[in-house]
Amino acid sequence: MNRRNFLKGATTLSVGASLLPLAQLIPQAAKAATNETAVVVFGGTINSLDIHRSGTNRDSYQVAINCYDRLVSFGTKQTADGSLSYDFSNVQPELAESWETSEDGTVMTFKIREGATFWDGKPVTAHDVKWSLDRAVSLGGFPTVQMKAGRLESPDQFTAIDDRTFQITLPFPSKLALPDLATPIPIIINSEVAKAHATENDPWATEYLHRNPAGSGAYKVLRWNAGEQLVYERNEDWACGPLPGYQRVMLREVPAQSTRRALIERGSVSASQNIPNKDAKELAAKPGVKVVSTPIENCIYSLCTNLDFEPFKDKRVRQAVAWSIPYEKIFEQAAYGQGVPMWGGGEQVTSIAWPQKSPYSQNLEKARALMAQTAYKDGFEVPLSFNLSVADWAEPTALLIQQGLAEIGIKANIEKIPGANWRTVALVEKKLPLHLENFGGWLNTPDYYFFWSYIKGNLFNSYNYDNPEMAKLIDDTLDMAVSHPDYAPNVTRMIEIAFEDIPRIPLWQPTLNVAFKEGVEGYEYWFHRQMDIRPLKPA
């Protein structure tokens, strides 16, 4: 056997199918990336199978969606370009086949689906739901914060009336409660399995569930080699939705972006998750590859001006900055035209859609005129910071902003901050005078976005913005039903204030780009930006 044949033989996926050990384990695994098996590559790493565990990273959130059921889920809608997205305004049954809300809006009663069973065959009961939601509000950290957003804060609020009836009591009616139950956090866990592995120090079985999911969802985890791969296997008895199209999905970690690109271009894998804008643009033009780019809901790449920094206390300076940015160039050179422009809107706020275009665009005369009115007409120096982990868009953006600012006498010195440090200095300590930021909330209402980013002290208000009128509006509106007569006027006013005071200057709404091999269909965008593999199917 010569070297060439040897290498070829070892490469061809079908060779030696009869000899393969994995073939014994999963019989149809003769070929990777076929009608039975999809192979997805991504750049991150899955560090836990339990979304409630402290330290669980974003890449791991998908396990919650793919392996567990929640009481409710979101429906599907078609976006403007024909791609599919989850639909925030359409809450659908998942584990709960129906639900009722009391007259005053504070008591929600869910009927658990008949015939829903966990992977081990045990029926899913209201007691499992109670245990799981108790866990989410009790473990602390991120799950507890997210539950609180839907006004779900304490185990006292959850009652298992009988095996199939589950009740939630809210302190006051809130429009956020139901959609919050559809986020990846309130997953329903097999409480008997979990309790069997709980210990005195670990009453919520975090160590066990970290490695061993125990759910009733569409997929089970067949293998998990942290740092290498995760293999999903379809749950043939899934009761809460149509059976997924792929029997098996292999998720491979490939850290180098160029390698991932080579893999999808060669057709070795079915999908490459979360690819950069440049690749999205170039791959879309290649035969055999399909790129789906979906605008990330209510996420805006923005330039933030910190009000703790003396010059930015003056509203006119912030407005001058907003008028000085070369938006078009940034969109071309940093976003490669992928996304939705967030500048150059009308002067009046006429819609409550969020995000929407700000009234600003590059107008250096206006910017200079504004600067001339302030105490900083001779300009000033300021560091312009960005997170090194998102350098692919932030670096070119920062350079172009630097040029724009130079035109109005502001000398911006670019400062790159490593990822681990970013959260601390930008969001927790909030001490970066001028920085690029990209918050997008999970619950897609404008008031929820404003809650996180325009109230003093809240995490994504990294610019210390404080306005009593805005705070009051948010407080009044956050739980208000969208159909309430005050809702639209309140939100309109919030947007007006946000644009007038402009502590956060919107640049563009980014997209989540996923590349597929021809023949993979059904991909649906989700707000947690991970692959929901359930609707994927071979053509």
């Binding site: 070829k8 740092g227 850290p255 927790v428 995490l459």
Partner: protein, 341 residues
């Protein structure tokens, strides 16, 4: 008598390693804490507020004062517990046990490949100065040191996987449909041979081919240079001239007299080269999605994952202390000059 002196020296050398290791422990502990970034804030997740960050800090034991953290760390260490790497969610000992063999397999394989190519090349270049072999040697050496490993890796990948399709998809140590062999050494190639599974051996080797060549190209430069230089020196020495004058066959002169003597500095170089390769591994591991220890350590560093970084530094320190010990002890035992006072 000399044996007594020698074993005493070996013993002293062994004891000297103890403070080194402890020193590394302390320095590494302090340095990881001096890293910018707050792991609690990072691992608390996307929407974490101050309270939940504090909670994560407590869970991770980061709210204790530094000396307490150090004592906890050392006492855990004594029990063989290196803590949990939050970036991958696994115990650090498990990660190291799994990833160190992956990196070593690559490193040692590359060293072996480099030796097989570089030593004969160096010898030939030395015996035929300024011939085409010598020029080839010079070319390879220059290419090897001037091309960064990630570039060589990407270039090989582009040609042999992307364009020609000869190499398997660069997705780690094994193709997707194979299961790793029963772990004996942790080296997939050796373990698959032990298990007698030829298909698996081939698959593992095919997956290794490109990263191995990448690293070997980088490694062969110093080895070839050193072999050539050492050979030139020994060939010009008095004893080789004497041997030639005595009428010994040229192959005998070359192998027995010149080459054996030239090998000593080459072996010294190997120890040094080993550490270079282990370092160069990091980028190669990234490009080929190789689940080795280098890419693990870099990721851990980026997110201030203390336990993982400490575990990595400690294992590397132990590895190099052992390697140095081994070299020193071998020298002590072999070199006739040691022991003469």
């Amino acid at each position: 008598m000399t044996l007594g002196v020698k074993s005493k020296r070996v013993l002293t050398r062994l004891l000297q390693a103890v403070p080194t290791v402890f020193g590394i422990l302390v320095v590494c502990f302090i340095l990881t804490r001096a890293l910018p970034g707050d792991p609690a804030a990072y691992f608390a997740g996307d929407m974490a507020d101050a309270a939940s960050i504090e909670q994560v800090r407590q869970n991770l034991g980061l709210d204790d004062p530094m000396p307490v953290q150090f004592v906890t760390y050392v006492s855990d260490l004594v029990q063989g517990d290196l803590g949990t790497a939050i970036s991958t969610g696994q115990p650090v000992t498990v990660e190291l046990a799994k990833r160190l063999p992956a990196s070593l397999e690559l490193t040692l394989g590359a060293l072996l490949l480099a030796l097989v190519v570089a030593v004969p090349l160096g010898v030939l270049a030395a015996t035929r100065p300024n011939s085409w072999v010598d020029h080839l040697c010079r070319f390879l050496v220059t290419a090897g040191v001037s091309l960064p490993t990630f570039f060589t890796g990407l270039a090989l990948l582009y040609v042999f996987y992307y364009l020609l399709g000869w190499a398997p998809p660069p997705m780690g140590r094994l193709d997707m449909m194979f299961l790793p062999p029963e772990s004996v050494t942790g080296f997939y190639t050796i373990d698959s041979l032990i298990a007698g599974d030829w298909a698996l051996f081939k698959a593992a080797l095919a997956q290794m081919a490109l990263p191995l060549i990448t690293l070997a190209l980088f490694t062969l430069a110093p080895i070839a240079r050193m072999t050539r230089a050492a050979m030139l020196q020994t060939l010009a020495s008095d004893y080789v001239r004497t041997a030639r004058a005595a009428g010994l066959s040229s192959s005998r002169v070359l192998v027995t007299y010149a080459f054996r003597n030239a090998l000593l500095p080459v072996i010294t170089t190997l120890g040094m080269v080993f550490s270079f390769v282990l370092g160069a591994n990091v980028l190669v591991e990234k490009v080929f999605a190789w689940p080795g220890i280098g890419s693990f350590a870099v990721e851990a560093l980026v997110v201030s994952d203390y336990a993982a970084v400490q575990g990595f530094v400690l294992s590397m320190a132990l590895l190099f202390v052992t390697l140095n010990l081994l070299i020193d002890v071998t020298y002590t035992l072999i070199d006739p000059r040691v022991g003469e006072d």
